[in-house]
Amino acid sequence: MRAAGQMSAATATRPRRIEAAPFRQLLVRKGLPYALIAPALLVILGVLGYPLAMLVWLSTQHYGLRELFQHQGRFAGLSNYATILADPQFRYALEVTAIFTLVNVALSMIIATFIALLMERVSSFVRVLLGAGLVFVWATPVIPSIDLWQWMFDYEFGVVNWLLTRIGAGNYIHHNWFENPLQGFTVITVVVVWGAIPFLALMLHAGLTQVPRELVEAAQIDGARGWQVFQNVTFPTLKPLLLILLSLSTIWDFQVFNQVWVMLDQRPSQDYFVMSVFSFQESFRVSQYGLGSTAAVIMVAILAIASFFYVRQTVRSIEEFGR
């Protein structure tokens, strides 16, 4: 209101410009939006688009140390793909990543849904506390959070080993969690799920509050019980949100890197080679940039499928609710 008042005062002293040529006006009007998006578009295309194209191109190149010094790869056709698909280590990486993603997405979604439903049922005091706690965990940056879990699972002085021994789950004194990859991945899963839960739970809780009360009550009057209400009323309302969260979690968990890399002090053994670590190792440790790129391209291609669902769902909801 105040701004509008200042506005008319300011313009009163200035004559209006109405003599601009119609053609120029048209040009300005048509061109303006493009001029506005141009700088951002240039940065995104130049800094993300170009490397993405180069990644695909690199996957068709033989690019080792010698090529690195010459800044010039040697064309190798699709032979990198043949090499990598025949590599048992790569197949292992693909399998482990798929299983890891499945387990982590399922666990995070289930626990987050549980917390979101719980938040609906607790007293408002506990709800506020729980919400604040979730935001706190959410805010904790990923690298410090990996470090703190590393400390909690330390083989010698880790609090987890002490706790497990104490509650009688077995003898965990001086237990090294990373000797056995299955146990190691369990720890990594704990870190990933712990980090993912706040975002998912808060989003789901926000979504739950949007479920129309009248619908729930109508269903209850018609005789629906707890689970039936969830299945027939809550779930259909939440479905768009669930789809988005599911695809986002898949995208995040499938490309997991930091949790593995930092947790294992930047020297993971081959047992821990998920897709992203495999690609990183091939490129920056073995200096086979062509092969590393090939693995990365395969990873991006798989991710593109999950992204497709995410983007489609997001665009749909803009069309429905945005402008």
């Binding site: 313009t11 917390i115 706690g133 965990v137 805010a139 790129s293």
Partner: protein, 275 residues
């Protein structure tokens, strides 16, 4: 009576969940405040008995700490200032103008956030290597800009979109030019959104790991997330120092995050359920 019992058992479960998810953070902060013998103890000390700041002092004396604080700040501030401006311009175009290719641009902005950086880091490294820009802050800054821009455009689009066009039109009826109306009406209203978006960009850039890890090889040029690895040597890990360092690294992010969380999170699911 029974209803109250059910409610309070839900409350009990809620508090238990809260305790479990908060414990790691509690453990990080208290470890950082404990003297060494309480950290390296087979039976854990739940509360630091004499609170000590020695671990923080050690952490700050680790070589390159202040250096890396400065690097992180230079990178993050440059990224934020430039990308907020670029993102704002693009957001205005998307929220206020109908133009050919707008939908394509919106789809690209959403989709590009899904591209994994740990795949792109290979060509990024080779590209910068061929122009001699590896191990320079400039390369990192350019990449962080591209990383934060899509999210910023997306969030700001929402803020601009929520300002009624009528306000602008009223100003134009009063005789303001389009740019004038924009600067005097839209800009002040969108300012909180700009601040929130800037802070979120700050957090993203501050937390980034892999690009900085690959590109910044000399210790004088690293950022804080990379610096945290320096507590782990062949002789083992200085847990007290590491927890202090982790707390220090996390602190600005947590503070900022708590400030803007409400305003920005809508952009994360892009209004999947109307909100």
């Amino acid at each position: 009576m029974r209803k109250r019992l059910v409610r309070s058992s839900y409350d009990a479960v809620g508090l238990l969940v809260l305790a479990v998810i908060m414990f790691p953070i509690y453990w990080m902060v208290t470890t950082a405040l404990k003297p060494g013998r309480e950290i390296l103890s087979l039976t854990p000390y739940w509360v630091p008995a004499p609170i000590t700041f020695d671990n923080f002092k050690t952490a700050m004396q680790v070589p390159f700490f202040w250096n890396d604080v400065v690097n992180s700040l230079i990178i993050v501030l440059t990224v934020v200032v430039i990308s907020v401006v670029l993102a704002f311009l693009a957001a205005v175009a998307v929220a206020r103008f109908g133009f050919r290719g707008r939908s394509a641009f919106v789809v690209m902005v959403i989709a590009v956030q899904m591209v994994p950086l740990n795949a792109l880091v290979i060509p990024i490294y080779l590209l910068l290597d061929s122009v001699g820009q590896v191990d320079s802050l400039l390369g990192v800054i350019a990449y962080y800009m591209a990383v934060v821009l899509p999210f910023m455009i997306w969030t700001l689009r929402g803020f601009v979109h929520n300002i009624p066009v009528d306000l602008e039109e009223a100003a134009m009826v009063d005789g303001a030019s389009r740019v004038g109306a924009f600067m005097r009406i839209v800009f002040p209203l969108v300012a909180p959104g700009l601040v929130a978006t800037a802070i979120f960009g700050f957090i993203q850039a501050w937390n980034e790991y892999i690009i900085a890890y690959v590109l910044l090889s000399s210790s004088s040029k690293q950022t804080l997330t990379i610096w945290l690895a320096s507590f782990t040597t062949q002789h083992g890990t200085d847990w007290g120092g590491l927890m202090a360092g982790a707390t220090l690294t996390a602190l600005p992010v947590v503070v900022f995050f708590l400030l803007v969380q409400r305003q920005v999170t809508g952009g994360l699911t892009a209004g999947a359920v109307k909100g």
